[in-house]
Subunit: 653 residues, 2 copies
């Protein structure tokens, strides 16, 4: 059992030495820290030695930046959460699938259109279930340029530009219904992988659930990423039909396994509930078999196949490689994996695949070279009901490590160790890939889902930390009502024994998964320059103006274009006269070229709030359907005369 | 100049003593903290002595709670932010004016109706500009039961129940247009004060801006709070018409000044912009006069007057005391105040009113007894253009303290000191009320708006800290793009010199104002019990079911009621068969009675996400306008078999 040094009795303290650690006061009365000793502070706040170490390892003085930055999903908040490591301070919530007025996301014309463009079947969507962020990679390492994130509920993928930490594109996969195995990127971000979760008829039709085995299918999308344009290219994207198993998480191969993708599954039993019809609920129906199927997919060859005439079927506008074709072309293979597993995580050198058992207590590690060899010589042990060849479990196996109850997810450090979350046992297990044995386990509080290590799913993990994304926080924080925050715990893995450093409550959202990047790989802009940029296109906005002289109101019949500037501390014009029924287009440019010189544009009653960062142009349209006097004002406290930064929209009846 | 001890050169360290502060290791290899010394940690992370002190004063080990809890406004995020002090960890974002899917706010039938009920003129509003939270008070002290918050953009007030930290009511004032002087409560929360900001015609009509002086008005709402029902009672509420000055912040008198309310103003010049019409922009037009008017209002008598027949006018459904009546009845008085001031803050004993100059470098302190005496004997120095009597500046004055550039807001400690934010100078000034002089100033980073001290605007401030709500953060944090976080800085005021302890970035929202309460005054529930409670009504939900046996689907023509349960790890029913065009009402009850046993209900494509805390019932209605197969699933990671907690809604064409 690992020594739990953080619970060591206080009696072992070298109290004399601690007491002697008097931090220099400046003498006399009223002096600075006034001789507060470390021991006095420890006693006053009941801090142990381990607490002192943890405090000094995480505390970040004013003006200091963090060496690592985490991007975590916000879960059903529909956002991405940016967190500094090791300070564990939340730096930003990025609006992605949910409108967010502080940043104006979903409130101006362009972001409204962006969000609407991704809505399946033309219905407005105002939330998403963001699960797995993926940083863009070059040669298998994070390059700090883009972030991708999925929406489980609606099978969408969003692109976030890390130039300004803004969502620029959302695509929707009409065939999947829901997703879970996304986003995961191939080593040069050629493709973004999005695997579906709950089987549905891919053509979107109604089919009785009794036809589940025949008519319901899974699928995986391969979205082509055009880095030059910073956008997904749906025309170059394709999908592969899969059996109606619940595909779960994905990962892309790298180095020796580059060109291949891997997806777990559960419910190969094809149970589909019916707990009021005398069927077992899915939770037991999907847990009968000892093995489910790891999906092994040759995406590189699949891309070539998808480009060939006659090899795909157009399903709801998506180029789909039918399951039979995938089998025929040798694109899809199965390997048995125990038991309703959760994560499949490729090692940094691409040679092994680690599968976390969920309902099995092992980490099951497959050897890619063995899988590849079996594929090459067609060494199979039969097919699944859909004809997919199955590679033997022992054929593919490298080994198993007994970790504990409820393994879910593994990430790597720079020492050849894996860290796996144990949900039921509420621990993280550190284990050696080389020796295939557990080195240490540390409790977490409580019931961890995924975890993150710095660059831990790339070719070059940085080590040093692991962050536990815990699901239950029960007694960790002040009571804020029945809906409790999640707990994100920072753990030091650089010490001989792992040390819990910090509990960060997440008061908005549920981080399912996160990636941590070295801060020096990020290079965001501090403002938009030159003046007049649109945040969605990252191009000069066609309606930008670059000086107050250009401010004007143009009328063309019932359409009014207001070209407005914002600069400390006034809008120009600060008076807009229109007639009831007019369509008013506001085109507002923040002329500032000082970082953090942000303005806002709030127009109550018309549900408008724009965030105008320095140099940015934003547009919003209102139809003035009611006469009256409507103040507009700067919503972002910008200056001493911030409250005076306002104007009136006067609507004559 | 205050000594900046936190920048003391490292050379003054008692390095021997520090080196001797070896925290006990456990000996041998692989031992716990492995003899990490405080000095080693200081060197490794470049921490000064002051940093060590700050770290140990704020670091909060796993499982510990904070002694204070802050409620801050989220600004134009439309939310309330809950933060533990001194750990400076965000515990919760409460949805108020903006839909928020993680907590299901604005996504179920009841919260949708709640939000829609407050929309002016029947238009959907999906954001608000939350500025000033006010905790409910009993005898002038926070009682931890309710929180109120305003929406500046749409003149609304929300009620948040601190039983479960959920918004239960939003009221709208149709006469104000915008607000700023809200929320502020009277000492027993009889009334919630909401002062307007930008003058408009109170009847909501269009009036040319050239009629500003005659047709535009300010106003202040007095919302009657019914504590037994935990709700504002609009039928017992009333308003007072005010001149078209830009009323700013409010405060209620207490003890000797109980029964009176105070509101600052700026722009008594009645400038209203016109920067494209040759007029000066408001920022200069509103800054011409040396003095504006502190409004002094006898709300207790106003309530009596408002109850009398013929004394009010019904304006858009609001009982308004006309300005002339307010004057005639002796309800309204003015006191000159320099110069476009911002905050009016009543001292804990109710005897003085401190006004922060904004464009004047003083804190101007008025003596309530002098104001009251002048009123009693009608000692006035003329009237404003609207007939409001003016009390002489010198008559009312207690004294002035020269603080610095840009005083905005004052709060109190338990030692008789005031802390005033200096926006332009980017400092906080600590000054003695008794001696009327500055004691100390501390820099903040940067450009502070408001500040908060524990219970600092109540009758019994707790002292110990001041928190600076800074507006600019430029170089404080990792670069996350042009839209930068706000900076909330915790400062220790219990030491002989103030000490900066912690920078907390606010990555979502702009906290304008905050209140800090002793944590032991809060008593939130950890779950809803007994099973079946509705979070908006806090009553048993009429559609609740309390066991799986009661789960059922009822059809009445084209209307389908689904009574569903959620418990680890399945929904019952997990299959809902309907016909295209049906109206489906989901009534879902979480049967769990374990704290933190939260489930979710996500139905993609229909834009549904419910948050189902233990014991809660929520309802949502969808019209199934498209045939197909739609998975629904638990969005909140609840159990090992969380992914298996799903069902299908099957819509037959």
């Amino acid at each position: 059992m690992p020594r739990k040094s953080w619970t060591r009795p206080m009696g072992r303290l070298l109290t004399g030495a601690i007491a002697a650690a008097v931090l220099a006061g400046c003498g006399g009365s009223g002096g600075g820290t006034a001789g507060a000793s470390v021991q006095e502070l420890m006693q006053a706040r009941n801090l142990s030695e381990a607490d002192v170490v943890a405090a000094l390892k995480t505390y970040t003085p004013t003006g200091r930046t963090d060496p690592f930055v985490m991007f975590a999903s916000g879960g059903h908040s529909g956002q991405v959460i940016v967190i500094g490591i090791p300070s564990m301070r939340i730096l930003k919530y990025i609006g992605v699938f949910t409108p967010e007025p502080w940043q104006g996301y979903g409130f101006d014309d362009q972001t409204k259109a962006l969000m609407a463009s991704s809505s399946p079947r033309g219905k407005d969507l105002t939330w998403g279930d963001s699960h797995h962020p993926a940083l863009s990679e070059t040669n298998g390492d994070y390059d700090g340029q883009f972030l991708f994130i999925n929406d489980k509920a609606n099978a969408r993928i969003a692109v976030v530009s890390l130039k300004d930490f803004v969502t620029t594109q959302i695509v929707h996969s009409p065939i999947l219904g829901t997703d879970h195995g996304g986003s995961f990127v191939t080593p040069n971000t050629d493709y973004i992988i999005e695997g579906g979760q709950y089987p549905v008829p891919l053509d979107g039709s109604y089919q009785p659930i009794t036809d589940f085995d025949d008519k319901y299918r899974g699928a995986v999308m391969f979205w082509k990423f055009d880095r030059d344009n910073g956008a997904i290219d749906p025309s170059q994207s394709f999908a592969m039909e899969l059996p109606p198993y619940m595909q779960d998480l994905s990962d892309a191969g790298k180095l020796v396994s580059d060109g291949w993708a891997f997806i777990n599954s559960f419910d190969t039993e094809r149970s589909h509930g019916g707990d009021m019809e005398g069927q077992p609920p899915l939770e037991s129906g999907a847990s009968q078999n000892d093995m489910d199927y790891l999906h092994v997919i040759d995406w590189k060859k699949a891309a070539e196949v998808a480009a060939q005439a006659g090899k795909t079927r157009n399903v709801q506008g998506v180029r789909v490689i039918p399951l039979a074709t995938a089998v025929q072309e040798g694109l899809l293979y199965f390997v048995p994996e125990p038991k309703s597993p959760h994560g499949v995580d490729v090692t940094p050198d691409g040679r092994y695949l680690a599968v976390s058992g969920k309902l099995d207590t092992h980490e099951t590690v497959y050897d890619w070279s063995k899988i590849k060899a079996a594929i090459d010589v067609k060494n199979f042990e039969g097919n699944d009901p859909y004809g997919v060849p199955i590679i033997g479990f022992q054929t593919a196996l490298h080994g198993q490590v007994e970790l504990g109850l409820g393994p879910l997810h593994t990430q790597w450090d720079d020492q050849g160790n894996g860290y796996t979350s144990l949900f039921i046992e509420s621990k993280i297990a550190k284990w050696s890939l080389k020796d295939m044995k557990v080195l240490e386990k540390i409790p977490v509080h409580y019931n961890i889902g995924h975890l993150a290590t710095p660059e831990g799913d790339s070719e070059h993990p940085k080590g040093h930390y692991v962050v536990a994304l815990d699901k239950w926080s029960i007694d960790r924080f002040n009571n804020v009502g029945p809906l409790m925050p999640q707990n994100m715990q920072l753990i030091d893995t650089s010490t001989p024994q792992m040390q819990l450093l910090y509990d960060l409550p997440i008061g908005l959202g549920e981080p399912h998964y996160a990636q941590i990047i070295s801060a020096d790989k990020l290079n965001a802009a501090q403002m938009y320059s030159p003046v007049g940029e649109n945040q969605v296109t990252h191009q000069p906005d066609p309606h930008a103006i670059t000086s107050e002289d250009q401010a004007r109101v143009e009328r063309h019949g019932r359409v009014v274009d207001v070209y407005m500037t914002a600069v400390r501390s006034h809008f120009k014009p600060d008076r807009v006269d229109v007639t009831k029924g007019d369509t008013v287009h506001f085109h507002i440019t923040n002329l500032e070229q000082t970082p953090d010189a942000t303005h806002g544009f709030g127009l109550g009653e018309y549900d408008v709030n724009l965030s105008l960062e320095a140099g940015k142009t934003a547009n919003v349209t209102v139809v003035t359907d009611k006469a009256g006097v409507f103040p507009y004002y700067c919503t972002e406290f910008c200056s001493a005369l911030h409250l005076e930064m306002m104007g009136y929209m006067l609507v004559k009846g």
